[in-house]
Amino acid sequence: MDTFLQNCLNGLSIGSIYALIAIGYTMVYGILRLINFAHGDIFMMAGYFMIICMTDLLIPWYISIIIVIIATIILGVVIEKVAYKPLRDAPRMSIMISAIGVSYLLENLATYIFSAQPKSYPYDKMGFLSSKVTLGNISTTLVTFITPVLTILLVIALVILIRKTKIGMAMRAVSRDFETSQLMGVRINAVISFTFVIGSGLAALGSVLYFIPRASVYPLAGSLPGLKCFVAAVFGGIGSIPGALVGGFLIGLSETFVKGSATLSQYSDVITFVLLIIVLLVKPTGLFGEKIKEKV
């Protein structure tokens, strides 16, 4: 029973981190119809920014988190301006290849600057976030509890932003029909930049929450979580933010339970992709996705 509860807690925690990253994928895909392959690497770079801030510059953690979020947002927006904007009229494959190129560049850049060896994350200097909590027989770090709560609050805030505000309305318009909304006077570039601001900001926050219990960052640390988060986004229905949350929770829980079982533990990464194939075959639009008509 205790292990079951422990698994539930860990699964919810990792799942909500996946959800935070998946929101970045799902929003960018909703507006640009682009799988931002570099998103996982932006997440990884955020981990390194935290190390620079805390270990090299000795900035206290609460200020570091703000700096890291701002730096990651700048990185994400710059990538959009440099690598995706010039290709806006190009075929979709070109822009996807550009995203893969950016991912390759970021991984090589991280290897060059920080070396391929894992760097230790300053998890023990994170104040109350890394303090131990014991509940009955379950003991874990406080951050494991905070993560799901924080994620759900952020998702609610984001949904309100998209439903109620002007920029949110613009985002919905752009994701429905790119060209028409442009003709209606929506400033496309501002909307896309804003999407990348939200996506990168959430990725930065996710990176802080992800790396505290894991304690080390390496150049390829973002690639597999990135893929899984995209799977989570597809699972919930691409373009849907509550869908990304549900998808993230499902992927995180199933992965944690598989990892916890004795016989299947080494296949914990396989389960994600099996889930993806099943969902794509049964309901290709995901749990909350809208039906897309194929146009000739």
């Binding site: 690598a83 996807m96 893969i100 560049l105 060059y112 893929l227 396989v270 992709f273 000739v296």
Partner: protein
């Protein structure tokens, strides 16, 4: 250019390439000089050319954005290695887990093992093709990428320890005794792909790429042709993986990661989606750049007593990926676009250069707008 002139040019060109390979094979030292690099570049470049052509068949000619290449290469490499490691060295290779009983005495000749490697990859492609190929572009990319990861994880998992040696990987993989073996295999494989592309199947592939609905209306069986392109592409990726295992002499589950797939995709893009010659030229250029021309960037160097900034291990790959990004952003069609190598274009290119120099020397360069086509072939 007349037809005979073109044919003569092609014959001379191919003979020259063969002569270069033979010269390097016969006379270049095995290590220690710049010429040794040329040896590596030719061999590795040829292997990558095969893999790039196989990826191009699926992505460039059929328009299926598949990113599973690394998975099929892993499978091919492992199949080849398991079937060819000499019995005498097996105990040493499988020192930790021991080798499975039924496997301990199976050793196949190299060509048969290569074929088996391709067939294993094709078999997996046939199994996953039916569900996966129903998906559309980006979803297909993610699903194949996921499958490649699944292959890697399953191969390294403990129930297969006595077959694949788990996470330790396999070593002492034998190769051709001759330097030319890899070239012969690669040339045969690429020739088969070219024949396929020029056949009616190839035209059907291109029709699917250009417009699925129209192709279906013309009576092309979409599922059948997509499946076929995917399986054949995986077959040659498997052989490419086997050649790579042969070249390196060792393989493990971390040899062919997602980064390898990305790298091959970038080669294909630089060469031009939908051009076999483009893939071949670009893989030789890209490998030469990565393994040879950009090498000095990885070593700290001094001008006098002053250390050149930035140069340290890893800088080469940064410069390399920046170059890749520039090609992807500004020369979107790559070297060849979707055209094949053609003497007319070469003649046109040299004439354009000639005109440029003529204007340069007569001082008329800035008088009217230069119409010199880009070397990247971006002008169309």
């Amino acid at each position: 250019m007349t037809k005979t002139a073109k044919r003569n040019c092609s014959i001379i060109g191919l003979a020259a390439i063969a002569a270069i390979i033979v010269c390097v094979g016969q006379f270049a030292p095995k290590s220690g000089s710049q010429w040794a690099n040329l040896r590596t570049v030719l061999q590795l470049g040829t292997i990558y050319a095969l893999v790039a052509v196989s990826m191009n068949l699926c992505n460039g000619f059929t328009g299926l954005f598949s990113l599973g290449q690394a998975g099929f290469m892993t499978l091919g490499a492992y199949t080849y290695a398991i079937l060819t490691i000499p019995v005498a060295s097996r105990a040493g290779v499988y020192y930790l887990y021991g080798v499975a009983g039924w496997l301990s005495n199976i050793v196949l000749p190299i060509p048969v093992a290569l074929l088996a490697a391709g067939l294993m990859a094709a078999l997996l492609a046939a199994l996953i093709g039916a569900p996966v190929l129903k998906l559309k572009s980006d979803y297909l990319a993610i699903a194949t990428l996921g499958f490649a990861e699944v292959v890697r994880i399953v191969i390294a998992s403990s129930p297969l320890n006595r077959i694949t040696n788990g996470s330790l990987g396999l070593t002492k993989i034998p190769g051709f005794s001759s330097y030319y073996g890899i070239f012969i295999v690669a040339v045969i494989c690429i020739a088969v792909v070219v024949l396929l592309i020029n056949s009616s199947y190839g035209r059907a592939f291109k029709a699917i790429r250009d417009d699925e609905v129209a192709a279906e209306a013309m009576g092309i069986n979409l599922a059948h042709h997509k499946q076929m392109s995917f399986i054949i592409s995986s077959f040659f990726a498997g052989i490419g993986g086997a050649l790579m295992a042969m070249y390196m002499g060792a393989v493990s589950s971390t040899t062919f990661t997602i980064a390898v797939t990305y790298f091959i995709l970038l080669i294909v893009v630089i060469g031009g989606m939908g051009s076999v010659t483009g893939s071949i030229i670009s893989s030789l250029l890209v490998i030469a750049a990565r393994e040879w021309w950009l090498r000095p960037l990885d070593q700290t160097q001094y001008i006098g007593t002053h250390q050149v900034p930035l140069l340290k291990a890893g800088f080469r790959m940064v410069v390399f990926s920046v170059i890749l990004m520039i090609v992807v952003l500004f020369f979107r069609k790559g070297i060849m676009g979707d055209k094949e190598f053609n003497w007319d274009d070469v003649a046109k290119f040299f004439r354009a250069i000639g005109r440029f120099f003529k204007r340069l020397f007569t001082g008329q360069l800035f008088k009217k707008k230069s119409k010199t086509p880009e070397a990247g072939g971006d002008a169309k």
